[in-house]
């Protein structure tokens, strides 16, 4: 028995030693690896609702339009588009686009793609969860082989912005493989084709040499630089950073601020940043005492030294905001006054509101915002607003604060709202319109509601921007939320990487990315 154990041990040790002496599979030239927080949920572009899934599959599927580095909507598979009237848009495809099997992309495919998104039960009996991202699109008409018309049931000025969220599928292929096949195979027109999906582990793609070149507005036009790209799922922050430092991956997303220095100090890696689209704010419950009093809300705003927190906790990598919209958003009011840090002013306002000796409040935060919550609480406490931080789970806090009209259970909630489309309709409306989905302060102002509603259907873009600007000036005064900052998105990248820029919408498009 003892002998057998010894033999087993020796075998195990030998096997491990063999494994150790094998080359560790360091990335080959032309093979680009991304350490990404999540795996794709499915490969079907119409049957998910996750930005992370879209980020992965967008490298294999092109859309009609996309965004340039400044977040401007530009054509991708489309050659051009025009609005014929407020409810009709005409889009023409580029010449010579083919799917990965070499079959040409035609207006039939475009119509089929949008029918699949909008018709109930079109995905093997399931309805696309992306249906609401197509807005009031009623019908897609084929004009000729390369041209389609989108018919809307009502004017929707954000149409082009939302068109960036959809990818064109091949009608023939989709009909052939069905919903099940679409969930695990790919027939797109993007720069890469699917080589293998190891579920939960990695999506491996190979360059598509027949690529039409992509958006004519985004240089260089042509086939992709890297021969192989791999999205490797590494959910744990520390492990993702370790993978970058070990040279196992060339790009990692969601670099934690506390790892910035580690990545910068490493000779082979660097940090890349881009303005994010997620506004962080502290919602105050305006329905109840003490925050139903605007003086108390303003006292809170004056008590918080936002720049200090950005510098100390976020490594300086955030932009302060004085309204809900981020610096790059459409219709951003650039002239909003700031509530500059001023404890004396805060105390005066508190005394005026009937709290000369200060008051006790509770701030709800999720685990990931705990540090920031504690920093805010200590600053507020110094101003006399004695703040207790309570850490809760995200979906519970959502249920308590985002009540869609029912009474809010809580006082203050440190939270954020993302705005990938960069259009105020994606952030301003849900967080500030009366009883809307993300209105976590119970805020209701009929003038703001009217301005937001009017902007929603205004097709003159300059007028529309003006409406949002006015609404933002009102909420800056009313202060249902203490507007904090838009943090930059942080990426760790290898010094061997070139040609890639992070993008505000969080996508990782690898068409131009090369590894030396």
């Amino acid at each position: 028995m003892k002998k057998q154990i010894v033999i087993l041990f020796t075998t195990a040790v030998l096997a491990v030693s063999v494994a150790i002496t094998m080359p560790m599979g360091m990335a080959q030239a032309g093979e680009l690896r991304v350490g990404y927080t999540e795996d794709a949920l499915t490969l079907d572009p119409a049957n998910h609702r996750a930005r992370t899934t879209q980020t992965i599959i967008r490298n294999m599927y092109d859309g009609l339009v996309t965004r340039d580095p400044n977040m401007k909507v530009v054509p991708q598979a489309a050659e051009s588009w025009k609005a014929i009237d407020p409810t009709t848009y005409e889009v023409t495809l580029q010449n010579g686009i083919t799917f990965h099997d070499g079959s040409p992309m035609t207006s039939e495919d475009v119509k089929y793609t949008f029918d699949r998104l909008t018709r109930d039960g079109a995905i093997g009996g399931q309805t696309s969860p992306r249906k609401s991202l197509v807005g009031p699109v009623k019908e897609v008409q084929i004009v000729d082989g390369r041209t389609v018309r989108f018919i809307l049931s009502s004017p929707w000025p954000q149409f082009m912005a939302f068109l960036t969220l959809h990818e064109v599928v091949s009608k023939n292929f989709t009909e052939k493989v069905g919903a099940d096949g679409m969930s695990k195979s790919v027939m797109g027109s993007g720069p890469y084709k699917l080589a293998k999906w190891r579920k939960g582990e990695s999506v491996i793609m190979e360059r598509f040499d027949g690529y039409y070149g992509g958006s004519q507005d985004l240089k260089p036009v042509g086939k992709a630089c890297s021969e192989t790209v791999i999205f490797k799922t590494i959910p744990e922050n520390a492990s993702r950073v370790a993978a970058l430092l070990a040279g196992d991956v060339h790009i990692i997303n969601d670099l934690p601020p506390h790892s910035v220095r580690q990545v910068e100090n490493n000779a082979n890696t660097r940090v890349m940043t881009v303005n994010g689209t997620r506004s962080t704010f502290m919602a105050l419950n305006t329905q109840k005492k003490p925050f139903n009093d605007i003086r108390v809300r303003r006292a809170v705003a004056y008590a918080i030294n936002r720049q200090l927190i950005v510098d100390k906790i976020l490594g300086g990598k955030a932009t302060l905001i004085n309204g809900i919209l981020g610096p790059d958003a459409f219709g951003k009011n650039k002239n909003l006054p700031a509530y500059e840090f001023d404890i004396a002013k805060s105390k005066v306002l508190l005394a005026e509101a009937g709290y000369p000796n200060g008051l006790d409040v509770t701030l709800d935060v999720t685990g990931k915002d705990k540090d920031i919550g504690q920093a805010i609480a200590s600053l507020m406490t110094k101003a006399g607003i004695r703040t207790k931080v309570v850490v809760g789970e995200s979906s519970q806090l959502t249920a308590r604060f985002r009540t869609k009209g029912k009474p809010i259970d809580g006082q203050m909630y440190l939270t954020s709202w993302g705005n990938g489309s960069l259009d105020p309709v994606g952030i301003f409306v849900p967080t500030h319109r009366t009883n809307d989905r993300g209105n976590s302060s119970g805020y209701s102002n009929s003038t703001v509601d009217k301005l937001l509603d009017a902007a929603n259907t205004e097709t003159d873009q300059a007028k529309r921007a003006g409406l949002y600007s006015q609404a933002e000036a009102i909420v800056n005064k009313d202060l249902p939320k203490v507007y904090l900052w838009v943090a930059q998105d942080l990426y760790g990248v290898s010094n061997r990487l070139s040609g890639w820029q992070p993008s505000s919408d969080g996508r990782i498009n690898l068409h131009d990315a090369c590894v030396k």
Binding site: D39, E236, A242, S395, T398, R437
Partner: protein
């Protein structure tokens, strides 16, 4: 052990599973948080479209009705569609299961192969340096939190020494035909030693992290029960008969001392399923544990229910297996 007992055990499974289903279903249903809200995230949606989505996911019914429907389907093996993967839950779980099984098996084997000899040695060399060192070592083994120890190993072997991979199950260049879906076995079947070595190199750190606490506990249990057995009369008798020391240790002492070890090993294997969740996250291991944790956070009810049922069945069978092993090790014990 007879066939009737097996049937009896299987029958006992029914109330256990029913209880688990009731608890899991209502715990999930009563936890605040709405899967539809989570799915939509921050993107705009109209009330009508939201209601349609809720209907599609079967969430427009009251919880009791949902439970009855779920139960009816579960009996026929239909656990519904995963809310977020939009595919049958069973398929999603089946894709992830082999990775978890492989990791767990290797961890258990690693733990047993190290803990039993060490436990026996520690008992034999009681109160020597070896005994003390291994006792302190096992204390560390039990106390080190997996997420911390895993990252420590990762930083050492993958980042600084660069001799083991950071994450994943196998290198991209390696491909092996799936027979058992366990890469180590499949690569041996295919006669591909390079693939086997690569899979093993990926498996090593996660298995070590997962197996260490189990090894530590098993070692201590083995040591204690060996000490107890060694003072029994039949051991003294065997010694008096002049049987060799090794033979006494292995044939007479160890066989009896293993009974508590087997019990603990079976229970620990159950908790290994929980440990998997952490280790799989740290090492990007594409297993079921990570999937279940992610699913709990996003309130993916169908997937969590099916996975917990699977865990419950596994746990019950592990205990059953331990009971059978008792009877083999100690004929005085009857099922």
């Amino acid at each position: 052990m007879n066939f009737g007992k097996l049937i009896e055990r299987l029958a006992q499974l029914i109330p256990v599973l029913l209880g688990v289903m009731v608890i899991v279903f209502f715990m999930m249903a009563l936890t605040p948080g709405d899967p539809v809200d989570i799915m939509i995230g921050e993107q705009p949606i109209s009330a009508e479209q939201e209601a349609n989505l809720r209907h599609d996911m079967g969430l427009d019914l009251p919880p009791v009705e949902r439970f009855i429907k779920f139960l009816g389907n579960a009996v026929t093996g239909n656990f519904g569609l995963s809310f977020f993967h939009r595919r049958p839950v069973i398929d999603v779980i089946a894709e992830r299961l082999p990775a978890t099984i492989e990791l767990s098996l290797v961890s258990i084997i690693l733990a047993i192969l190290t803990s039993i000899p060490l436990g026996v040695l520690a008992a034999v060399k009681k109160n020597t340096i070896f005994d003390r060192v291994s006792t302190v070592g096992s204390l560390f083994g039990v106390s080190l939190p997996g997420f911390w120890f895993g990252i420590l190993l990762l930083m050492l072997f993958a980042v600084h020494l660069r001799i083991l991979p950071v994450s994943g199950r196998i290198g991209y260049a390696y491909e092996v035909d799936a027979v058992t879906h366990l890469l180590l076995i499949d690569s041996l079947i295919a006669g591909r030693l390079d693939t086997f070595a690569n899979a093993l190199s990926h498996l090593f750190l996660p298995a070590l992290t997962l197996g260490l606490p189990m090894a530590a506990i098993l070692m201590r249990v083995t040591r204690t029960s060996m000490l107890e057995v060694m003072s029994q009369d039949y051991i003294i008798f065997a010694e008096a008969k002049g049987i060799s020391r090794t033979r006494i240790l292995i044939r007479h002492a160890l066989k009896n001392a293993l009974i508590p070890t087997v019990t603990v090993a079976a229970l620990e294997t159950g908790s290994l399923l929980g440990g998997n969740m952490i280790v799989e996250t740290v090492f990007g291991w594409p297993g079921l544990g990570r999937l279940v944790v992610e699913s709990i956070f996003v309130h993916n009810y169908p997937l969590v229910q099916a996975a917990v049922l699977f865990y419950a069945v596994t746990y019950v069978f592990l205990n059953f297996f331990a009971d059978i092993l008792y009877t083999v090790l100690n004929p005085r014990v009857k099922l």
